[in-house]
Symmetry: C2
C-alpha cells in the first residue's frame, strides 16, 4: 500500500521561517488568535487524520468507486464514516466564519490541511473542498436569510454544496448554457435543465446537498451576461429550518472516469426544481467566480498534494529497490545490487519533482497568506496589493501546479518500472487521479487566457506591477549577499526575461488578434517558473543566512534550489523563443493544415 | 466510440515518395517480390481489418479485461474470434520466412501493419507482436529441429510465444535472476522459478504457448554471463509434432494494471517444467536480445500508433465541438459558437502532435527499411551501414516515440476537456494504454543508457558516424535549394549541436564516472529531436521540389515542418545547457538530499 507522511517540517519551515505567517497575520488583525504553537498543533492533528483515516481508504475507494443504484449514489465503503469523523473534528469549518460555527482560522492553514487531505485521498477531499466554495459564495452573495438557513449546516459539515455550471454543450463557454429559471408567485423560481460533470452532485455522506445552479431567466440577455445563480437544495427547507420535501432534483447517471473514482461525478436533472435566486439577476456568472476562484486555488493544491505523495512513494521505493550498481562505485557491496536511488537518472527524476513541489508549496502558502491579508487588512493599499497577488496568482497556481503534477506523478511512476503500471503499488492511481486537475474548474488553457487576457490587463496592468514590486522589494537584501549569487543570478536573468516578454506581448498584441491566445499557455508556464525560482531564492536566502546552516534540512534545500535554477529554470529561455515565433508560424496555418 | 482511419496517405507518401521503398529493396535483393501496388493493397487490407474488426473491440476489451479463473486466463469477448480471422488472413506470418509458411515480406511493411493494428487495438496487437520476437529468436538461435517443431506453428498463428525474463527482484537488472535449470538425462532441462510481468503468458487464443525462459544452469557464472535460454512450451510436443502432455507451467495470477487490460500480464510459475536449451549455455541474455531489439522497435511503433489514434480523435472532436469564438473573428457566425479547432491553443496542441507523429513515423519507416537492408544486402559495407542504423536507432525510437506518445495522448485528452476524463470517449484509455510503452522491453532510461554507454561506443563510435554520414550525404542536394533554407537552417544548427554535445560527452566522460548515466535521458531526447528534424527536412525537400507542390497534402506537410523547426526543435538548445550542467549539480548531491 502506498505510504504518506505529511510534510510537517516543510510546512513549519515555510510558515515560521520564510513567511512568518502568525506574526504577519497578527500584524494586520490583532483579533487573529493564532500562535505558532496552535498552527503546529493543527498541522499535526490533520496529518494524523490524513495518514490514519483517509490514506487507508484511498486505494479501496479507487477500486470500488461510487455506485449508482435506483437513483441513489453510494460512496465507497468507509467514506461516510470517515466523513462523519472529519466533520466531528471540526475540519469542515476550519477557515469559516465563527458566527456560523466555523473556527475562523486563516486560509493559509486551510491550504496546508487541504494539501494533506488531498495527498492522502484526493477524492475524499473534493467533497468538503467544494463545500468551501459554496460557503464563500453564500457568505458573499446570499441574503441574511439565506446565510442563516445554509451557512451553519454547511460549516458544521451536516450538509454539503456543489456548483452546477457545465451543460453538455456548454463547458468552457458558459455563455451557451440553456438551463431555465421561471419566477413563481411565492418568490421562488422553477429551474429546469440538465447539468453534467457535477462533482458530489449526489451521494450518501450528508442529509442535504445545496446546489448552486446557473440558469437563465426569461428575456435574459444572451451570453454570459444573462446568467443568474440559484440555490437549489436537494431537500427543501421548511420555515423552521428543518428538512422539508425532496426537491425535483435527480441524478441521471454517474460518470465512469479515468480516476478520482471515489468522487461522484453526476449528471443532474433539474425538473421544475424549486430554487432561490442568490445575488442579483444576471450576475450569476460573476458571482459564481467567487466560488470558482477559491476552487481554482484548491485544485492547484490537489496538484501539489498528488505530486507530493507520488514523490514520497517513489523516493521510498528508490531507497529500497535494489537493481544494478551505481556508476560511481558500489554503494552496498554486501548486497547483490545498489538501491536505485544511487542511479543518476533516478536522482534527476526525484530532484525535479522535489524542486517543483516545494517551490509550488511555498508559492501557494504565500498566495494564501495574501488571500488572508486581502480579507483582514484594514489598510486599503495593503488590501489591494494582496488582492492583486491573489488575482494574478490564481490562474498561475491552478494551471502550473497541476500541469507539473501530471508530469511529476508520471516521472515517479516511471521510477517503479513495471510495478508502477500495476495497480497494487498505487502509483498509477496518482497519475489517473491528478489528471482531472488540469481540466476541472476551467481547463488550464482557460487559466492561461485568464492570465494574459484578463489578469495582466485589468487596472492597467496593476496586478503584474504589484508582483514585480514585491519581487524587486525582496531583492534589495538579497543583492547584498554574495554567497547567494549562485541562485540570485539565474533568478534575475529569468525575472528580466519575464518582464521583457510581458512588455513584448503588450507592445505586439495589436499586431494580431490572436497573439495573446496563441502564446498564453507558454507565457503562463514561463511566469510560473519565474515565481518558483523566486521562492527558491527566498528559501535559499533563509538557509544561507541561518545560524544553523549546516543543518541537513537547510543544506538539502540549497542543493534543491541549485538544481532548480540550472536544470529547470533554463526552460524559460526556450519558452521565450517559442512565444516570440509562435504566432508567426500559426498565422500561416489553416484548419485544413492541422 | 473513438474513431480511427489508417493513415494510408502518409504511409504511401513516405514509402513511395520519400524512401522509394520498393525500388530500394529490389535493388538490394532482386528476389524480393514487392511492387508498389502490392504494398498499397496490403496497407488497404490491413487498414480494413484494423478499422472494422480490431477497433470495435478496443473499448470493450478495456472495460472487461482479461479474466483469471481456475488457473486459466480468458481474453475479453471477441478477441479469440478476431485472432482467428487475423491468423487466417496470414497477418501472423507477414514478414516471416517463406520456408515455414510466412509471406517473406519486408519489415518496413510489417512496421506499417503493426502501426495500424496497434492504433486500433494496442492490447490485441501485443499478442502476435510478441510472437514475432519468438519467431526471430528461434530462427536465429534454434537448432534445425527446434525450427522445424516451432516455426511453422508460430508463423501460422496456431501457437504464440512469450519472453520470460523478469523476476520480482530482477527487472532492469537481469543479472540478479534466480530461475534454475537442471540438465536431465534425456537432453531436456528442468526449469524452476517464478517470472512476473509475462505478457500473453497464458490465454485462450491459441492451443499452445511457447515460452522463451531465461534461467541459470548449476555452476553458471554469476551475473548476466551465467544466463541460458530455454524453450518451455505450455504443452510438450510429441515426436510426431502433435501436442503432448501439459508442461509444469502454471499461472499464479494476472496483474491489475493501469491499462492494456485486454493483454494478459501473468505471473508464471515453472515447477520442474521441461525445457530445451536454445543457443549456447550462458549465452541466453545476448540471444534474448535478438528478440528484445525487435520488440523495442515494436514498442516504439505502439507509441506512434497510440499517439496517432489520439490525435485523430482530438482533431475530429476539435472540428465538431463548438465553444467560444476564434480570437481572429467568428468562423461560423450562423452558429452559437466556433469549432474549437479555431482556437490557437488547440491548433498548437494538434500541430505539436502531428509534427512529432509524422516525423517519428518517417524515422521508423527509414529504420525498418534499414532492418531489411541489413538482412538482405549482400554487399558487406551496405549491410554494416544498415546494421549500424538499426542499432543506434532502436533505443532512440523505443524511448522517444513512447515518451512523446504519453505527452501527445495527454495533450489530445486535454482537447476534450471534461469529456477526455470520462471513459466513454476513449481518450483516457489511450493515455493509460500507452503508458506501459515507456516501461516494458527495458524502461526508457535503460534505452538511454544503451544509447550512450553502448551504441555510441561499440566499434569505436562507428554507429554514430554512420548516421552522421547518412545525414551529411543527404544535405548536399538540400544545400542547393534556397527555397528550403527555412527548414535547413534550423536543422543544421541542431545537427551541429548534436555533434558538438556528442564530442563534449566523449571528451568529458572520464572526468566523472557518472557523467554518461546522468545525462543519458536528455541526450537521447536531443538525439531524437535532431532525427525528427532531419525527417522533416527530407519531407520538406520532396514537397518543395514536387511538381505538385500546391497540393493540400504537400502544403500542410511544409507548414507542419515549419512548426516543428521553430516550436519544437529549439528544445534542443535547452537540452544542451541542461546536459552540460547536470553532472556538476548532481555530483554535489547525496541521497539524503533528495
Amino acid at each position: 500500500m502506498p505510504i504518506y507522511k505529511a510534510p510537517i517540517e516543510d510546512f513549519q519551515f515555510l510558515c515560521h521561517e520564510i513567511f512568518d505567517v502568525t506574526n504577519s497575520l497578527s500584524a494586520v488583525d490583532d483579533s487573529i488568535e493564532i500562535s505558532a504553537d496552535l498552527l503546529d498543533a493543527i498541522l499535526i492533528e490533520c496529518a494524523k487524520f490524513s495518514e490514519e483515516v483517509l490514506l487507508p481508504l484511498n486505494q479501496t475507494g479507487d477500486q470500488l468507486g461510487c455506485k449508482f443504484e435506483n437513483g441513489e449514489v453510494f460512496t465507497p465503503p468507509g467514506f461516510k464514516e470517515a466523513y462523519r469523523k472529519f466533520s466531528e473534528g471540526g475540519w469542515c469549518g476550519l477557515s469559516s466564519q465563527k458566527e456560523y460555527g466555523g473556527q475562523g482560522l486563516p486560509e493559509v492553514i486551510q491550504y496546508m490541511t487541504d494539501e494533506m487531505i488531498s495527498s492522502a485521498n484526493m477524492s475524499f477531499g473534493l467533497y468538503p473542498g467544494l463545500t468551501q466554495g459554496t460557503i464563500l459564495c453564500i457568505s458573499k452573495h446570499g441574503s441574511e436569510k439565506q446565510k442563516e438557513i445554509y451557512l451553519s449546516n454547511l460549516i458544521s459539515g451536516k450538509w454539503q454544496g456543489t456548483m452546477c455550471l457545465t451543460e453538455a454543450h456548454a463547458g468552457s463557454d458558459l455563455g451557451l448554457l440553456r438551463t431555465q429559471a421561471f419566477s413563481n408567485d411565492d418568490g421562488t423560481y422553477s429551474i429546469s435543465g440538465t447539468k453534467i460533470f457535477i462533482s458530489a452532485g449526489e451521494h450518501d455522506m450528508v442529509e442535504n446537498i445545496v446546489h448552486l445552479v446557473l440558469a437563465r431567466l426569461p428575456d435574459a440577455p444572451k451570453g454570459t451576461s444573462g446568467i443568474s445563480m440559484f440555490i437549489v437544495p436537494k431537500f427543501k427547507i421548511d420555515k423552521d429550518g428543518s428538512l422539508g420535501d425532496k426537491n425535483n432534483v435527480s441524478v441521471g447517471s454517474i460518470e465512469h472516469k479515468m480516476g478520482a473514482k471515489a468522487s461522484s461525478t453526476c449528471v443532474m436533472n433539474f425538473d421544475n426544481a424549486t430554487g432561490w435566486l442568490i445575488g442579483l439577476e444576471n450576475k450569476g456568472l460573476s458571482n459564481m467566480f467567487t466560488m470558482m476562484n477559491k476552487e481554482r486555488l484548491f485544485v492547484g493544491t490537489q496538484g501539489i498534494a498528488q505530486a507530493e505523495v507520488a514523490y514520497q512513494n517513489a523516493k521510498n521505493y528508490a531507497n529500497e529497490r535494489l537493481q544494478g550498481r551505481a556508476p560511481d562505485g558500489k554503494k552496498s557491496p554486501e548486497k547483490s545490487a545498489d538501491a536505485i536511488i544511487n542511479h543518476p537518472d533516478i536522482k534527476n527524476k526525484l530532484l525535479f519533482s522535489k524542486s517543483i513541489i516545494q517551490a509550488s508549496r511555498a508559492l501557494s502558502i504565500w498566495t494564501h497568506l495574501n488571500v488572508d491579508i486581502a480579507k483582514l487588512d484594514n489598510n486599503a493599499d495593503n488590501k489591494i496589493l494582496a488582492e492583486d497577488i491573489e488575482g494574478i496568482m490564481t490562474p498561475v497556481i491552478k494551471a502550473s501546479c497541476t500541469d507539473f503534477a501530471t508530469e511529476i506523478t508520471n516521472e515517479c511512476l516511471q521510477i517503479f518500472g513495471g510495478h508502477g503500471y500495476v495497480s497494487e503499488w498505487g502509483m498509477e492511481q496518482f497519475v489517473r487521479d491528478v489528471r482531472i486537475t488540469q481540466i476541472y474548474e476551467g481547463t488550464n488553457s482557460i487559466q492561461a487566457l485568464d492570465l494574459v487576457k484578463r489578469k495582466l490587463k485589468i487596472h492597467n496592468g496593476r496586478l503584474f506591477n504589484s508582483l514585480v514590486n514585491k519581487i524587486e522589494g525582496s531583492l534589495t537584501e538579497i543583492n547584498q549577499n554574495k554567497e547567494l549569487e549562485f541562485l540570485a543570478e539565474p533568478f534575475k536573468k529569468s525575472f528580466s526575461r519575464l518582464i521583457e516578454v510581458t512588455n513584448w506581448m503588450i507592445k505586439n498584441e495589436n499586431s494580431s488578434p490572436q497573439l495573446l491566445s496563441t502564446i498564453s499557455n507558454d507565457y503562463l508556464k514561463l511566469f510560473s517558473l519565474v515565481c518558483f525560482a523566486w521562492m527558491w531564492l527566498l528559501i535559499g536566502e533563509k538557509c544561507i543566512s541561518s545560524s544553523n546552516k549546516e543543518n541537513r534540512f537547510y543544506k538539502s534545500k540549497l542543493k534543491t534550489a541549485n538544481f532548480f535554477m540550472y536544470q529547470v529554470l533554463p526552460l524559460s529561455q526556450y519558452l521565450e523563443g517559442k512565444i516570440k515565433t509562435n504566432n508567426m508560424i500559426l498565422e500561416n496555418i489553416t484548419i485544413d493544415d492541422i
